[in-house]
Amino acid sequence: MRKDILILILIITVSVLGFVALYFTLFDKDYQYLYKNLKVSHLIYNPDKKLPHFSLIDHNNNKFDNENLKDEWTILTFIYTHCPDVCPTELMNVSILNSRIKKSNPSLMTNFVAITFDPMRDTPEILKDYVTYFDKDFLGVSGDQNQIDQIVKDFGAYYERAMYDENGEVIILSSDEPLPANAIENGYSINHTAWVYLVNPDGQIHAGFPAPHKPNDMLIDIELLVENY
């Protein structure tokens, strides 16, 4: 009797191990293939780590939440309108990417979203004029600072604020430190990460593209990622 049970346990154990090994081999193979062939992007997708719920407002003053990231691929950036250099470059490159996708892969429907680090100054109205200048397809997203801070964290992005005192010395404020009362009057800039993210039709973060952004290489990677999804 004991012998039968032992054999049964052994069979079950071997089968389970076998399936696990097979799963990881197959799973690993896909990702190994992607890792080898992705030129400029990093595969971020983790099925065990879902993007938490967020609630923001788009530049048409409509609610923008997780549902808006579903059904289509989304190319998502974090920017702010008082950015003199990095954000305009990023938005220009993403616009070039948009036109490349339209030309070479018109059936690939993609949304373009630009979320602001700086909702205090970047209201929906201001964002609309700003982002649509770079590309009519861009959708600016603003909202409550806490919601913005949360989604920035969930994407693995980072920002801090920089101000200058009377002596010209820089003061760095982390995102959870409040801005002084004269901040808007005196001006402040934002130091930030500059990744472009690819969100899959399930509304999950799929891949990330660090700067510098090369639209042609990004397109090749996006096509590969979409193909292997």
Binding site: T81, H82, C83, P84, D85, V86, P88, T89, M92, I126, D129, Y130, V131, Y133, F134, Y158, E160, A162, Y164, G168, V170, G187, S189, N191, H192, T193, A194, P210, A211, P212
Partner: protein, 160 residues
């Protein structure tokens, strides 16, 4: 006779002074200047150019002036472990017998608070002042990106 001597000395002194000022200005030349186009509600614009220094000493760009902006600052974009930092600079150095490129992702001039955001093709007259006393007037055209083919900017020296 005495007055002629004095006048002569004054003339030589003035000539020497003007020559020095002109020669100091001669050490700097600016090429490929441009201002990047921006949205109609952009709070600031970026200015870029190549500054060449033919002298034996480092020269610093100290201030920039142009009408139609609230404030103009010098900045540098630095990638600090993946965080892009836009840091205000007291000056932009141009090495001896060298060149400093002001370009996106690097050194740049920040034109803050435009009265009206200039459009593509507009020209902005920029006054550059250096630590050796020299000045330059640069005509920068507003463009979407840096043109590689030929240089549309012109430079002029001023003895102000």
């Amino acid at each position: 006779m005495k007055y002629i001597m004095i006048t002569k000395n004054i003339a030589i002194f003035v000539l020497f002074f003007i020559t020095n000022a002109v020669l100091a200005g001669n050490h700097i030349s600016v090429t490929e200047s441009w201002i990047r186009t921006a949205p109609p509600n952009a709070p600031m614009l970026g200015g870029f150019m190549n500054i060449h220094n033919s002298s034996d000493k480092e020269i610093k760009l100290m201030t920039v002036n142009a009408t139609g902006f609230k404030r103009i600052e010098l900045h540098r974009t630095i990638n600090s472990d993946g965080t892009m930092k836009m840091m205000r600079q007291n000056y932009i150095p141009i090495p001896a017998h060298g060149l400093t490129k002001l370009e996106p992702g690097s050194w740049h001039i920040m034109f803050i608070g435009p009265d009206i955001v200039p459009k593509s093709g507009d020209m902005v007259m920029i006054n550059l002042a250096f630590d050796d006393g020299s000045k330059q007037i640069v005509h920068a055209f507003v463009r979407k990106s840096k043109m590689m083919s030929h240089d549309h900017s012109s430079t002029q020296m001023s003895n102000d």
